[in-house]
């Protein structure tokens, strides 16, 4: 296990370093160069020269990259002159709200998708399977902002029970104080996530139901419920742990759209506003942070998977 953990950790580290290399390259591809992009259109040549010198942008590229890494290691993601705030601070204010949105919808999605996927696998190629499959595909094919809008129309206009906008509080506590406003954003992200999860869970369960141990269990005379809940479910759900990690990039992408639609004051909205204003320090900072979060999430998922299923760590240790 230790060996597996170390290998996996090393890989994650390499990926994070590569991600910083990508953001570094993008920073230097920015129109007019990094200084112009950060300081804005109105900056004078002197200001740009001074900024370049101060940031070390006049040194050789590899030295700049080393500097960039050192700043990142110190938690310095740069400074947004448009917000007049350090990037780290701007992100920290919004991060908890995005986490709330992502975690809540992931949790809900698992709770909904697991029973759906199991029902589909057990009744496969019959009407419950077809119905759920059709609904999941429909949800997947619907752009999430359209889905969200349909829910706003349904629940705020036709049958006005929920507010059409997300809570506008500044802190996490403010947001939590208005739970009604959270329902629609979380729900739209959940529906999209369920659409993806249930398909995976179905095929994982189907794979397991075709295994020999299931036949053995059945021929021992166990009831079908026992076979499914006691034997297959556990094995069939292991891969869901990795699925959680794998799905993170798509989840964050979805959160970006949902935050924009409901005007939810999270990291996605910050990113969107920065994209419209071409506020590159924020854009790069959020991109970097969200990628690191993705890598970390995948790492945690893989480690949990290995802890739950010894076959994984044994196989990985051997190769």
């Amino acid at each position: 296990m230790t060996r597996y953990l170390l290998t996996r950790l090393g890989q994650a580290l390499v990926i994070v370093i590569l991600v910083t290399l990508i953001t570094f390259v993008i920073l230097h591809l920015l129109p007019g160069g990094a200084a112009r992009a950060i300081l804005g259109k109105e900056a004078t040549l002197q200001q740009i020269a001074a900024f370049n010198h101060e940031m070390g942008y006049d040194r050789p590229l590899w030295e700049q990259y080393a500097l960039y890494l050192r700043r990142l290691a110190q938690g310095d993601l740069g400074y947004s002159f448009q917000l007049n705030q350090s990037v780290g601070e701007a992100i920290l204010q919004r991060l908890p709200k995005t986490m709330l949105l992502s975690l809540a919808s992931t949790l809900l999605a698992v709770l909904i998708a697991v029973p759906l996927g199991v029902v589909q696998a057990v009744r496969r190629n019959r009407w419950p399977d077809y119905t759920i499959n059709a609904l999941a595909l429909l949800a997947y094919a619907t752009p999430i902002f359209f889905l969200g809008l349909l829910m706003i129309i349904l629940f705020s206009q036709v049958w006005p029970v929920l507010p059409p906008e997300a809570p506008q509080g500044f802190t996490l506590a403010d947001v939590l104080a208005d739970p009604a406003g959270l329902v629609l954003p979380i729900l739209s992200l959940t529906i999209l996530t369920v659409a993806v999860y249930s398909r995976y869970i179905r095929s994982s369960m189907v794979d397991n139901l075709n295994e020999n141990y299931v036949r053995t269990a059945r021929s021992k005379g166990l009831s079908e419920t026992r076979v499914i809940i006691g034997h297959t479910l556990r094995n069939g759900l292991f891969p869901v742990i990795t699925l959680l990690g794998m799905y993170l990039p798509a989840l964050f992408s979805g959160a970006l759209v949902v935050e924009r639609l409901f005007n939810y004051p999270g990291m996605g909205l910050l990113f969107w506003q920065a994209a419209l204003k071409r506020d590159y320090p924020i854009l790069l900072g959020v991109t970097l942070l969200i990628s690191v979060a993705t890598v970390a999430g995948a790492l945690i998922a893989d480690v949990l998977y290995a802890a739950a299923d010894p076959r994984v760590r044994l196989k990985a240790g051997r190769s």
Binding site: L18, V19, L138, P249, A250, S253, A275, V295
Partner: protein, 339 residues
């Protein structure tokens, strides 16, 4: 993106392209998934695995076509795609509208107004004609980005899988790193640097979407390169390039085609998401996603004809490609038939 967007799609590409061999899906997130590192799933080309029950002598393509046609949803997908493509590309030949000049005397006309069967939008464009124009962009960008991603990803994955060792490690870690940046964030970052035009949009989406196919093909390549016939060819002095060209790519083609179909669906969704986030192709160009996002602001003023038609069009085309992809999977992945 969906989400995928969404996402995306998927992420990127969230719908499982290979209905999960024990670890779900082909898409082991960033980092090296312990179970899938190019798991050689006993694919369609496993020796002796691919014998169809009834008709052993018939050719692969003929047999494949038959399997495809047995899948009614796949046929419906093809029909839907042909219908939407004909509407978008042939429609303007029969139904002429001015989609360049605005006409502020004719804004928000309701459907059924003489000359405007689907009404007009906020600047006086005919909505039906605009749907045709928007469909062209959505379909072209989807197909082109899907194709670009598939070609780049296939070559990358085949080379990495075949080269092995450090080349493989370097190439695949790069894929891992890019995959760990959520697609929409990367798209927006790129779209905020260049002005999105149709070719640019294709490149931006294609430049990210090749990662999925690259992983898939690498997995296939890893399992294929130790097969006897490849070893035999190498033993006779064949080059690595020949192995990739004549053995690995043709053998992985099934997986690649299935994946490409889903790529197209995801690309169409990504175009919609980018338009919604304000980084789509600027007017007078149009695409269904952009029309749908414009329609959002009209939703509460009763202009339903600006919202539902483009929304339904997107759903239909994405569904069409998913149906086609499912049908193709039946054709190529023999192991999964009748499950």
């Amino acid at each position: 993106m969906t989400i995928p967007p969404p996402g995306t799609p998927t992420s990127g590409d969230p719908i499982p392209d290979t209905p999960a061999p024990s670890p779900p899906g082909h898409d082991p997130g960033p980092g090296h998934d312990p179970v899938t590192p190019g798991t050689p799933t006993p694919g369609p080309s496993a020796p002796g695995a691919a014998v169809p029950d009834e008709a052993p002598v018939r050719g692969m393509w003929r047999n494949g076509l038959e399997v495809f046609c047995e899948n009614r949803l796949a046929l419906a997908g093809v029909a839907l795609f042909v219908l939407l493509a004909a509407f978008s590309f042939l429609g303007p030949l029969l139904y002429h509208t001015d989609q360049v000049h605005t006409d502020l005397t004719k804004v928000h006309l309701p459907p059924g107004t003489p000359g405007h069967p689907l009404g007009t939008d906020g600047v006086g464009y005919d909505q039906l004609g605009r749907l045709m124009l928007g469909g062209q962009t959505s379909i072209v960008v989807g197909l082109a980005a899907g194709l670009l991603a598939t070609v780049v990803g296939t070559v990358w994955g085949a080379v990495a899988g075949f080269a092995g060792r450090w080349a493989d490690a370097v190439m695949m870690r790069l894929v891992d790193a890019m995959m760990s940046i959520p697609a929409l964030f990367l798209f927006m970052l790129m779209a905020s640097i260049v002005t999105p035009t149709v070719p640019m949009l294709i490149i931006i989406i294609g430049a990210f979407a090749w990662l999925g196919p690259a992983r898939l093909v690498r997995g296939e390549a890893l399992s294929l390169r130790t097969r006897e016939y490849v070893l035999a060819m190498r033993g006779m002095g064949g080059t690595g390039g020949r192995a990739v060209r004549t053995h690995i790519i043709p053998n992985a083609i099934g997986t690649v085609i299935v994946n490409a179909t889903f790529q197209v669906a995801d690309a169409i969704l990504y175009v919609a998401y980018l338009s919604f986030l304000g980084l789509g192709v600027p007017p007078p160009a149009a695409n269904w996603g952009g029309m749908l996002s414009d329609g959002l602001s009209d939703a509460f003023s009763g202009h339903w004809w600006l919202l539902y038609p483009p929304g339904i069009a997107i759903i239909l085309i994405v569904l069409a490609f998913n149906f086609i992809g499912d049908g193709l999977r039946d054709v190529f992945e023999v192991r999964l038939r009748r499950r």
